[in-house]
């Protein structure tokens, strides 16, 4: 039983780390701030979620388990709120999203 839980826990933690890695890759390689946010969004949804799931499988203390679940619950509210604030701030400051057809060039957003 312990070995199976360990295996599941490791699988979960490693796949969480993989999603965080791919999210970071997206953050670096996607074309503009708006599309980069989608990469960042992966790290705090499935990335963090799988890490916590893996830790949940390791713990035997129910108080610790509840705290871990709380972390995911709080992330589920704070992460979209900050993403939204970031996107809105970028739009408000005049940054236009990159599209296939080309993007509006501004001082903050030099052509690359």
């Amino acid at each position: 039983m312990g070995a199976v839980l360990d295996l599941l826990s490791w699988a979960s933690i490693l796949s969480g780390a993989l999603f965080i890695f791919i999210g970071t890759l997206g953050l670096l390689r996607l074309p503009d701030v708006f599309s980069r946010m989608h990469g960042a969004g992966m790290t705090d949804t499935l990335g963090a979620g799988l890490l916590v799931l893996g830790m949940l499988l390791q713990t035997t203390d129910w108080l610790v388990a509840i705290k871990l679940v709380m972390i995911v619950a709080f992330l589920a509210f704070t992460s979209p709120t900050t993403s939204h604030a970031l996107a809105r701030a970028a739009l408000k400051s005049g940054l236009m999203p990159w599209t296939r057809a080309g993007r509006e060039v501004s001082k903050e957003n030099p052509p690359s």
């Binding site: 992966m42 499935l46 809105r88 739009l91």
Partner: protein
Amino acid sequence: MGRALSLFMVLFGFWLLMSGHFEAWLVALGGASAVLVVVIARRLEAVDHEGHPLHLAWKGMAYWLWLLVEIVKSNIDVARVILASPAGVSPSLFRVKASQKDELGRVIYANSITLTPGTVTAGMEPDGTLLVHALTEGSRASVESGDMDRRVSRLMGES
């Protein structure tokens, strides 16, 4: 008063679970701090259906589970796009109507869009029109299909 009482129960329960202390003196201190927070929240007029939407936690279980599955699916989609061709994405900014009349419903819908990778809500107009940025044609189509919008309306009891 009912809301204040249920806010107190939630805060006190939260305190107990976070502290893990069950000695009388410490529990009394925890209870006192929960009462203080409720008093402050009432003075801030934050104890309303928006500040304390506990009714949705249980009623919405089916919705939260559906959203969880959507989050997993869109994570895999975005991961695939990033690994395949980050330069081949076709992002777009578009408007979509949130059909909820209640502000809390609109916020839940807008946050659900942002929570699923591939789509971010960048703004909301007074009539409930959302400004959404999508990473690919597919993620745009999934918002425009209106499936999530209908589910949030159902969660809020508006349809």
